[in-house]
Symmetry: C2
Subunit: 137 residues, 2 copies
DNA sequence: GTCTATGCAAACAATTTGCACAGCG
DNA sequence: CGCTGTGCAAATTGTTTGCATAGAC
């Protein structure tokens, strides 16, 4: 298990190490409060502002990405090498990640057509997962 | 110019008519506060909570869609027949809408692959527009 | 030892809610 | 005229900030 060793000149504190670690090992897309609650289990004195400050630092350093799913607040996930996208179930909130070569083609096409330099693409699909479809009849 | 005639059993009030009208005719993607300010020009006594209540009603009825662009608060736009997507400039905030047959293909592909019933797709591309690219050198 | 990061409480911003009155149907 | 929608102010929720102290380097 890789640990946080350096933070581009910023200090590596126990809180930052813990928070990054939790993000790293949580499958999902945590929001600030979920992360806070998890962190408190291991370090009860940690404060929510530390969580926000750490998230904003990680985001600035490009270590995590901020997502805006339906309605609610922000979710954060550790940035991975491969670009990936999200399929969200409107019934149970489950998030499935996927990749698709088609997104690369959309980027290329729109870049040519608009003159934008396109840095990133995010595709988000919504619908009902198999189980929720059955439950809804 | 088409006017709001009915609201699925909900009452059509002057405020709702005004708000929907403003959304309708604003090119862009208004947020609650922008909409509020526009509405006040025509109806100074309108309140911000009315704006929020109307937006949430419209959203429930499927008349408008809520977008979550980078960071900030929600934006709302009247739902149109054609699905369309967004290209956002990170420099100046400009939003360009586009359509692409590739999104239909992504939906079909993911639907087959995941067993989800996919209701909608939203693609959001970020980058720098031609002008901002020049200004940044 | 110096200077940045933390915890706490208080400030802010976006959105929601309770209540008495206004006005649609 | 009954009942839903509105304006206003106050409440909530998510996030940020000021300040004194803790702790990384």
């Amino acid at each position: 298990m890789v640990e946080m060793q350096e933070l581009s000149g910023q200090r590596v504190t126990s809180q930052r190490r813990l928070l990054f670690d939790l993000l790293r090992h949580s499958e999902g897309h945590l929001d600030a409060d979920e992360l806070y609650r998890l962190a408190k289990e291991r370090e009860p004195r940690i404060s929510l502002s530390t969580v926000y400050r750490a998230l904003s630092l990680f985001k600035e350093l490009g270590l995590v990405e901020e997502r805006h799913f339906a309605d609610e607040h922000h979710h954060y996930e550790v940035k991975r090498k491969r670009e990936h996208h999200h399929l969200v179930c409107l019934g149970c909130g489950k998030v499935v990640e996927f990749q698709s070569p088609l997104t690369k083609r959309i980027k290329e096409h729109m870049s040519r057509q608009s003159g934008f330099e396109i840095l990133n693409a995010s595709v988000s699909l919504e619908g009902y997962c198999e189980r929720c479809r059955q439950e809804r009849g």
